[in-house]
């Protein structure tokens, strides 16, 4: 079994998205993996007073069973892990070789998010001046 640490999050909303995706990939031949852009649902696990771990139900996906594990601290979600079970075949490994992008529910700017680089539609040096990437670079540029 491999374990992929997906993300440390501070909001319940991001986790709701994760559940949304898992659900939407259930079963063969279903609808395309439409992920709700915004999900206001609450997994109902955000009330623990101290650090604790909550396992979601294992869901059958086309990659095999997937179970979401939440670590809660102070009533907030401190960490989300997804133990990935099915890695027997090369196809599964190939599919799982890169993490899925995680949607951000709330407005987050580069200044407040812990990110290392920004990927965006091709931009020019002029556009760069206004881009999020420039804000990151200002933090530690050697020119």
């Amino acid at each position: 079994m491999r374990r992929i640490v997906l993300w440390s999050v501070g909001t319940v909303g991001v986790v709701a998205l994760l559940f949304g995706y898992r659900t939407s990939t259930e079963g063969p031949g279903g609808a395309p993996a439409a992920v709700p852009a915004i999900s206001g649902g609450n997994p109902g696990a955000g009330r623990a007073p101290r650090a604790s771990t909550v396992f979601g139900d294992a869901a059958e996906t086309q990659f095999g069973p997937v179970q979401v594990e939440l670590t809660l601290a102070g009533g907030r979600i401190a960490r989300v892990d997804v133990p990935v079970y099915p890695d027997e075949t090369s196809e599964d490994q190939q599919i799982a070789s890169f993490a899925l992008p995680r949607l951000i529910q709330e407005t987050i700017s580069a200044q407040s998010a812990k990110i290392d680089m920004v990927s965006g539609a091709t931009y020019t040096s002029e556009g760069y001046l206004h881009s999020l990437q420039s804000a990151l670079d200002k933090a530690g540029v050697v020119s």
Binding site: G30, A33, A37, P101, A121, T122, S134, V142
Partner: protein
């Protein structure tokens, strides 16, 4: 405790180039030397491939003044990659783009950037135990050498509001490319029609190398509403499709689903 990140920035090919280094050579002269080597490799590619320079090999090839045989072998490589992408995208991606006046123009930039950054990253890969993320114009190659170091966390710009992020993706060893209409206006066209694609705001692809990620993102964006279906049939990559209405759909290529 995460090791500090040292950043370098330069401009080449009309694009900003950003490097993040983390690890033993992040702040020393060896790391600085690798950055200079990487940047010089991009400047080298610029001389061969710039469509902005009328005297470049690409411009002369595009005008039919010289054949491929008279061009540097790199141009033949790029033309081959472009032909493969054209076939795989059903013609939506093409190095030869039809313009409003009906003329065809040679523009290899959809392949060149990924190819150039993959190559420019080679000196950075030789830095022992040092992690790097090399970005050019919003696309990047990432590598984590230290098994105990965290992934690089890449923010994906919101195509409808570039001051915001729409998603993040952790990358350990791979490339991220985003195609869309932001920043430069609608500069990607469906090569079959010469029209801007409809229904789509941006496509981000995470793959093993930047040639693959960049070509797939560009081809998928050109496909417009068909982007998601096409990407789901391409194993070995993940990513995000953002529609014109701002809704976003993560995908894993090669999903074993019945054709939707």
């Amino acid at each position: 405790m995460t090791a500090p990140i040292r950043r370098y920035v330069g401009h080449v090919m009309g694009m900003p180039v950003s490097l993040a280094l983390r690890g033993p050579h992040a702040a020393d002269e060896t790391g600085a030397g690798a950055w200079r080597e990487a940047f010089a490799a991009l400047e080298d590619v610029d001389r061969v491939f710039s469509t902005y320079r009328p005297d470049s090999f690409v411009s002369r090839y595009g005008r039919g003044e010289i054949g491929l045989g008279e061009c540097p072998p790199e141009l033949a490589d790029v033309v081959r990659l472009g032909e493969r992408a054209k076939a795989e995208s059903g013609g939506a991606f093409d190095l030869w783009r039809r313009h409003g006046d009906g003329s065809l123009r040679f523009d290899p930039s959809g392949v060149v950037k990924g190819w150039a950054v993959d190559r420019a990253a080679l000196p950075l890969r030789r830095l022992a135990d040092t992690d790097f993320c090399l970005a050019a114009g919003g696309d990047m190659v990432c590598h984590v050498a230290d098994p105990d170091a965290p992934d690089w966390t890449i923010g994906i710009e919101h195509p409808l509001d570039p001051s915001r992020l729409i998603a993040t993706v952790p990358v350990r060893d791979g490339a991220v490319a985003t195609s869309g209409s932001a920043h430069r206006g609608k500069h990607i066209e469906d090569a079959r029609t010469g029209l801007a694609p409809e229904g789509i705001a941006s496509v981000t692809v995470v793959a093993a190398d930047l040639v693959r990620a960049d070509v797939d993102a560009t081809a998928a964006f050109a496909l417009g509403r068909d982007a998601l279906r096409w990407l789901q049939g391409r194993p070995g990559a993940t990513g995000l499709v953002v529609r014109s209405d701002g809704s976003a759909v993560p995908f894993a290529g090669g999903e074993r689903r019945a054709a939707a």
